[in-house]
């Protein structure tokens, strides 16, 4: 379930973002080769990617301060509950760039780690950008119905346990629609995949920014993170 209208959907991925993910803290300080290398990595990863995503709208109840009940799934998490305050519905969401990207990075890792690092960074930027695009389109539909989308909140954020990953994927039937699987250790495969809960609220002030496409970092307690964008 996805639509990629433009063949080069990835061409708009910001290169400074890729450089940042590759551990380059001051883009201004890096030479032309690194910009070039980032651009090539975006293009190679983009061509290897077969992005797919799935949304599913569910009812939300919060029987206690720190408990979210989503379509019968009961998740105990203060940060998730705080994030979803004011919402009566949520969208469950999963997206992936597909296993071709994992393979591409594995291939580079075997012979040229410098390339692998750049591809890893490009893939991180691409999946973010793909998720943003998908969520923005989804939000437009909800706006018409009077809802605002909160930012994506993923297992592993705050005290939202990673162990919820399996439940979330099963509930979304994610393998069928996207090919995402969960390893026995609870990690998503393909590795460049994202899962999240998106709160739906009628209250415009309800979210940090009210938009799921921006301000992702605002709610994160890890204020010292070097990738923080607020």
């Amino acid at each position: 379930m996805h639509e990629i209208n433009s063949k080069e959907w990835y061409s708009g991925v910001p290169l400074p973002e890729v450089l940042r993910y590759a551990g380059i803290r001051e883009e201004a300080a890096c030479g032309e080769e690194l910009w070039q290398s980032a651009a090539e990595a975006v293009s190679e990863v983009g061509q290897a990617a077969a992005p797919k995503r799935i949304f599913r709208e569910c009812r939300l109840q919060m029987p206690q301060e720190d408990v979210c009940e989503i379509d019968g799934m009961v998740w105990k998490s203060k940060s998730l509950a705080a994030h979803l305050r004011g919402c009566d519905r949520v969208l469950l969401f999963a997206a992936t760039l597909g296993s071709g990207v994992d393979r591409l990075i594995a291939r580079s890792s075997a012979v040229r780690m410098s390339r692998a690092v750049m591809m890893q960074a490009a893939a991180a930027a691409l999946i973010e950008s793909y998720c943003d695009g998908a969520c923005t389109a989804q939000e437009e539909e909800y706006r018409r119905a009077g809802y605002y989308c909160k930012p994506r909140f993923s297992p592993g954020y705050g005290d939202f346990p990673l162990s919820c990953q399996t439940d979330l994927m099963t509930h979304l039937n994610a393998y069928k629609y996207t090919g995402i699987t969960v390893s026995s250790g609870g990690q998503m495969v393909p590795m460049k995949s994202v899962s999240a809960v998106i709160g739906l609220t009628r209250d415009r002030q309800g979210g940090a920014t009210g938009s799921c496409a921006g301000g992702k970092c605002a709610d994160c307690p890890n204020v010292g993170c070097e990738f923080r964008r607020v």
């Binding site: 590759a22 597909g98 012979v111 690092v117 990673l162 969960v182 390893s183 026995s184």
Partner: protein, 801 residues
């Protein structure tokens, strides 16, 4: 009851439609396990089967899609219990409908839901065992066939098919889920699926789920053009849509039937439906398609091998089989095999792909090596980074079988000969696992000296293969290249053999081309001419070194001349770029020093400089270069990284440049000097963690500083780390973990090492780790990045430079 396989291709057979859709309509909620309804609501399941049988369909699919031990045991049930109940539901429906002779029960097996290694963490053998249990229970409970469906990865298909065929006597049907690119989730295209499934000799295959009949039409059409086996088509009722959180499909029964009628004309043998299809869809489809006469499947005769992403068609244009993964006559390669240096072998594979190989020959046979284990390991490692089809090259039958079993696709096998013993050993493997096999034109009497004699052996090979059910499209004949300096007529005989094999037997050909020049000077010169002559005589698969300029010149020229290269596109692309390179612009500032090339991260330049220095009038001592240029360069970059003026990709580029120059130096370093190492370090990503890029970065850097790294990989159990610490008397272990969940595993690993090997030093790193936490779980050091790991190892090995 007539076996269903006897009806395939004689009458159009019909599958049922969606089970999940019917259950959803009956109130099944997202996340619930539908398989448990066989136990809790058998009447509901029976009534669904019955409503499908009543449409006139022949095959009911049991409600066992996810009834594997992974899921069932977690829900507190056994596979046998659930599968037996499911088959009983279908049997009850069949009885209620009467006329059981025309109604079959398919034991349904869907994907496990976890990916097989190397992409995921499920081993091939575990996947096999999960499918085996389901298949065996299905047969025991009375199913008539096994349906492996909605598959998104060919490796999983292979595990499931082998499990079904090796443990039951039921017919095996397979359908895969293709997406709008015409590919499976893991990237396999239609031809790759066809090659694999024909090779595994399933009874029928095709596609299901994914998309609707119209969207899948081009995909099933392509499959019908390639396949020699009966085809199955079970699409969804259109594309999935969503309303109020529920997924639905909106192609009506009438429209579905019309689309299926169009597809039926392609000559399909079995048709039904998947998600969103109901008894209404199946009833209308049967009404509209009943009179279509299926095409009895016929042999398309297309020689194909495959990897897990694509097939390579043999015979339509010349192909290059890279010969470099082979220890014969290669000191460096032998050393790599002896030291279990897989990354060197992977590097050889990738370099050959980059140079233009379409297939890679894999030979790891040498005295003193456990060839079966090494070949299996090499094949697995190669297919984890490369998607080229492999040619499994061994005379060791055990090694051959192990490699064929773990190979993710349909391989080329090198080789069988006309000897009775060889054919008896190899053909059963080809029949079981699938493959195209190289037939050497020699037998008990030796290598015939005439083309006539070799063609006779080829005929014998083809005839005996047929007795094993192996079609001649799966045989390619090696006309045998003998050294021309020893046998003046040998080239003529070989070329004549090629011509006659192609013309008289109609099978494809292969040659190990470079044997021709053995013992002669300037071997490339004669190799290239012989290669060209061989292509003209009908050589399909040339086993050559794709890194040889002369051979590739012959290849590109021949393709341009024989009409395989439209508008000479490939030729122009390759050689127009070379013209520019012929006159490189002089670099400003004159020649670069080795040190500055490494600092700039210019690998090719660095190794070129080393070669020039070594080949010059006053070649420096290798150790002098290492101490005077290499190490200072690395130190400078390392310091810069620590200060924040050099960034990670640049640090790694310098590391790679240093490695490239070191490889050149290695050849001239005398004896043990090249192996002077700083100490042995284990690296591992802990159990349950499959993210290994951080660990791999540390590895590159440590190796650069001449530490001997034993890389245990990812998802490594604590016991494995301990085992290796003991076995190799390791002084330092580096552990990496990415997630909060896997940091727990890191703590467990440290605890085990502390208890059993208290003397070992442990350094840790990973995205979620902090200094405090590292100390809390008992690590000796927290290394925030790769350079910190290097510094720590230098400290504990006492060799700070």
């Amino acid at each position: 009851m007539e076996k269903i396989t006897d009806k395939l291709g004689k009458q159009l057979l019909f599958f049922d439609g969606g089970m999940g859709t019917m259950l959803q309509n009956a109130g099944l909620r997202a996340g619930e396990l539908p398989e448990l309804l066989n136990l809790t609501h058998p009447d509901l399941i029976t009534s669904i089967h019955k409503s499908y049988y009543e449409t006139g369909c022949h095959i009911a699919t049991t409600n066992t899609f996810g009834a594997n031990a992974d899921k069932m045991n977690a829900a507190g049930h056994s596979v046998e219990e659930v599968v037996t109940a499911a088959v009983n539901c279908a049997k009850a429906a069949r009885e209620q409908c009467g006329d059981p002779s025309d109604r079959y029960i398919a034991m349904d097996m869907g994907p496990i839901g976890r990916l097989i290694e190397p992409m995921g963490d499920l081993s091939f053998d575990e996947a096999y065992a999960l499918f085996r249990e389901m298949a065996v229970c299905g047969e025991k409970a009375g199913a008539d066939l096994i349906l492996i469906e909605t598959m998104g990865a060919v490796y999983e298909v292979k595990a499931a098919v082998l499990a079904a065929k090796e443990n039951t006597s039921l017919p095996v049907f397979v359908t895969c889920a293709f997406d709008e690119r015409g590919k499976l989730f893991t990237g396999a295209d239609v031809a790759a699926v066809v090659a694999l499934l024909e090779g595994l000799r399933v009874d029928a295959f095709g596609m299901n789920c994914g998309l609707g009949p119209d969207e899948l039409y081009p995909v099933i059409r392509e499959m019908s053009e390639l396949s020699s086996l009966p085809l199955i088509f079970n699409p969804n009722a259109g594309l999935p849509k969503q309303k109020d959180g529920e997924t639905y499909y909106d192609v009506s029964p009438t429209d579905y039937a019309k689309s299926m009628r169009k597809a039926a004309n392609l000559g399909l043998c079995v048709m039904g439906g998947c998600c969103g299809t109901t008894p209404g869809h199946i009833r209308e489809m049967i009404a509209l398609c009943r009179d279509v006469v299926p095409v009895t499947p016929h042999n398309k005769g297309i020689p194909m091998i495959s990897s897990y992403t694509h097939a390579v068609r043999i015979g339509s244009e010349p192909l290059i089989v890279g010969e470099r993964i082979n220890p014969t006559g290669k000191k460096r390669f032998k050393e790599a095999l002896k030291n279990d240096d897989i990354s060197y072998i992977l590097g050889e594979g990738i370099a050959q792909e980059d140079a233009g190989a379409q297939i890679l020959d894999v030979n790891v046979g040498m005295p003193g090596i456990d060839e079966p284990a090494m070949l299996e390991k090499t094949v697995k490692k190669l297919q984890s980074v490369l998607d080229l089809p492999l040619q499994i090259d061994t005379s060791n039958v055990e090694a051959m079988e192990r490699a064929m079993r773990c190979y993710n696709g349909k391989p080329l096998i090198n080789s069988v000969s006309g000897k009775e013993e060889s054919m008896r050993a190899v053909f059963p493997l080809v029949r079981k696992y699938g493959g195209t096999v190289v037939g050497l034109a020699l037998d008990e009497t030796g290598i015939p000296s005439t083309a006539e004699g070799r063609v006779e052996v080829a005929k014998k090979i083809i005839a005996v293969a047929a007795e094993y059910g192996i079609d001649k499209k799966d045989i390619i004949i090696d006309g045998l290249t003998l050294t021309v300096s020893a046998e003046p007529d040998s080239a003529n005989v070989t070329l004549e053999t090629l011509r006659r094999v192609k013309r008289e037997l109609g099978v494809c050909t292969t040659l190990g081309v470079s044997n021709i020049s053995f013992g002669l000077p300037k071997r490339e010169v004669i190799n290239a001419v012989f290669y060209t002559a061989a292509m003209t005589a009908g050589l399909d698969c040339a086993i050559i070194n794709p890194k040889s300029e002369a051979m590739m010149n012959a290849y590109f020229s021949y393709r341009a001349l024989c009409g395989c290269d439209p508008s000479c596109g490939a030729y122009i692309e390759r050689y127009s770029a070379m013209t520019d390179e012929a006159a490189p612009a002089a670099k400003p500032g004159g020649a670069m020093s080795l040190k500055s090339a490494i600092i700039a991260g210019m690998g090719e330049e660095a190794s070129k400089i080393v070669r020039e220095l070594l080949g010059g009038a006053n070649p420096p001592e290798p150790m002098e270069l290492i101490k005077g240029e290499l190490i200072p360069a690395l130190n400078e970059v390392g310091d810069g990284f620590e200060k924040g003026t050099v960034f990670l990709p640049q640090l790694l580029m310098s590391a790679e440049a240093a490695k490239a120059s070191f490889e050149v130096l290695k050849d001239v370093l005398s004896g043990g000097a090249s192996e002077e190492k700083m100490g042995r370090v284990i690296l591992a990503t802990v159990k349950d963690d499959i993210h290994d890029i951080g660990k791999n970065i540390v590895k590159v850097l440590l190796e650069n500083y001449r530490f001997d790294v034993l890389d245990l990989g990812r998802d490594v159990p604590a016991e494995t780390v301990l085992e290796n610490v003991r076995k190799y008397h390791i002084k330092a272990v580096g552990l990496s973990a990415l997630m909060t969940t896997t940091v727990v595993r890191m703590a467990e690993t440290i605890a085990l090492l502390r208890k059993e090997a208290p003397e070992v030093k442990i350094f840790v790193g990973g995205a979620v780790l902090t200094e405090d936490y590292a100390m809390q779980i008992g690590a000796d050091a927290y290394c925030r990045d790769a350079m910190a790991s290097v510094r720590y190892c230098q400290k504990i090995f006492g060799n700070v430079e």
